[in-house]
Structures are given as structure tokens and as C-alpha cells.
Amino acid sequence: MTTARLLPLLLLLGSLAHAQTPAGQAGAVAKTVVGPANADLADGAAALRTGDAEEGVRLTRRGLVTASGQRERVAGYSNLCAGLAMLERLEEALQACNRALQLDDEHWRSYSNRALVYLKQERYPEAERDISRGEALNPNARTLKTLRAMYRDAVDPVSPSIIIDDRRGAEANESTR
């Protein structure tokens, strides 16, 4: 059960990378930028990473006030969504995610964060839709795989079963999936 409780936090932490890099720096080659462009957003992300959601939300909100450019704002709202979700302020989290997706409807991390909020709200069709959108944008994202598993566990729970077959003639069915 501990794992189940920690899972949302792990998912959220996986969704914070953007604010860690200064805006416009991703993919940049020879820019000499010392320190993040928006210190509040970066510090907010760092606080969220350590699990300090209150501080993370406070700093992210402050960072959003001075955010320059769409990229920073998208990352900021997405992180705000993550932080608010950690605080179980789900309606506010949803608004932040929606805001991020209004600015950039191809931001897979925002779909991922919003899917988690929907899962917490037990709004499974919406969660599934966002997971699928995220998967289409980033098929290899581990966060989305975990969300997919959470979704499946919510709508169609399974329990593992191991059959130890010592009978003569027992063979592995190699086509089992």
C-alpha cells in the first residue's frame, strides 16, 4: 500500500523537468547562461521534487508572475498542477493543467499531470483520454506507463497468480502473453 501512496508523488516528480532548465535553453548549443532564467520556477520545481508541495506551489505561483514566454508559463502551470495535486487540491490542480494545455496542447507532461488528477477524482474516461494523448506525444514516457497501470488497476484490477507445475509433460506455453 505504501507503494500505491507514493506512486502519485513519483509521477509528479517525473513531470517537473521543464522548469529545471531555463526557458529556451533546451536544445541550445552555445549559450552561456549561469543559473535558471526564472529562479522561482526552478526553486519551485526543486521544492516539489523534495516533496515540499506547499513551498513548491508558493514558489511556482511567484515564478508564474514573472514568467517570460510561453514555454516558462506552460512548465509553470504544469508544475503548479502537480503541486496542487500533491496537496489534494484537485479542482485547482485541474484548472492549472487546463491552463497549461490551453497554452500548449502538445505538452505531454500536462496531460500526464491532468490524467493523475482525473484518476484521483475517479474520472476514468477522462484519465484514459489524457493518458492516450500523452502516449501519442511521448510513447516511451515511463510516467505514462505507470499512469496506464494505475488506470488499469482502477478499472480492471488484477492479482498475480503463480502456478508451479511439476507435472511430467508440463511445458511452457511459449505463445502466452
Partner: protein
């Protein structure tokens, strides 16, 4: 009685609580009574987390020798449906034990084989 039915008739179906590695799995042990070596401590493999997450089921057959003391050795996967299950299966065999043989009995050279079937059962109440 037809042959397959006769072959499966002496099957003993045992349900038992297993080791910590398989704490979250339901374990079923199927065995017949005509094996050279008698299981003493059967360890069930852990269901790999990634396979559970991705809803993958599969089978692995592992064959091995058992020494006089009942320890498996020369453990090798004979067939498997997915590699993700192979390591847990080998670990389970390595941790399992068979009844030791008395000194006056020869250790059989024939390999023992065990098939692990990893399954995911619906947990939804009917």
C-alpha cells in the same frame, strides 16, 4: 481410461502460503507423485513488477539437476514465453530445496523440470 487422463489423475493440487518474495501472489503447486526427487521447500517466484504493470502473462520452464543434499544446480531455462520471467524463475529454483537422498541411493542423472505459469487474475468481485 484414456492416457492423458490417467497421467493427470495423481495430480495433487496444493495451495499454500509462500515465501516473502511471492507475498502478493496466489500460489498454486501442481505435482504428480512419480518424480525422482521430492520437493522439500518450494519457493515461488515474484511476479515481475514491469510485467504486472504491462499486464503480461507467461510461462517459463526451468530444468536442473538436484544434488544429494537436495540443492538444485545446473539451472537452465528450457523454454519461456517472455524473458521478463526468466530471472525470477531461476532465482526461485535456486532457493528451492528437495529432500536429500540417503547415502545408499544413487543420485539420478536425469534433470528435473519445473514450469512456472505467471498469471493475472481478475480481482473484480462477481
Amino acid at each position: 481410461m484414456n492416457r492423458p487422463a490417467r497421467r493427470w489423475l495423481p495430480v495433487a493440487l496444493l495451495l499454500f502460503a509462500m515465501s516473502a518474495t511471492a507475498a502478493e501472489s496466489r500460489v498454486t503447486h501442481l505435482e504428480d507423485d512419480n518424480h525422482e526427487r521430492v520437493p522439500l521447500n518450494t519457493v515461488a517466484p515474484a511476479y515481475p513488477a514491469a510485467a504486472r504493470r504491462d499486464r503480461i502473462e507467461g510461462d517459463v520452464q526451468v530444468c536442473f539437476n538436484v544434488n544429494r543434499e537436495g540443492r538444485p544446480y545446473r539451472i537452465a531455462v528450457r523454454s519461456s514465453s517472455n524473458r521478463v520471467f526468466e530471472k525470477p524463475a531461476i532465482r526461485a529454483i535456486r532457493a528451492s530445496r528437495y529432500q536429500p537422498l540417503p547415502k545408499d541411493r544413487e543420485v539420478p542423472a536425469i534433470k528435473t523440470c519445473r514450469t512456472f505459469r505467471f498469471r493475472l487474475e481478475s480481482a473484480t468481485a462477481d
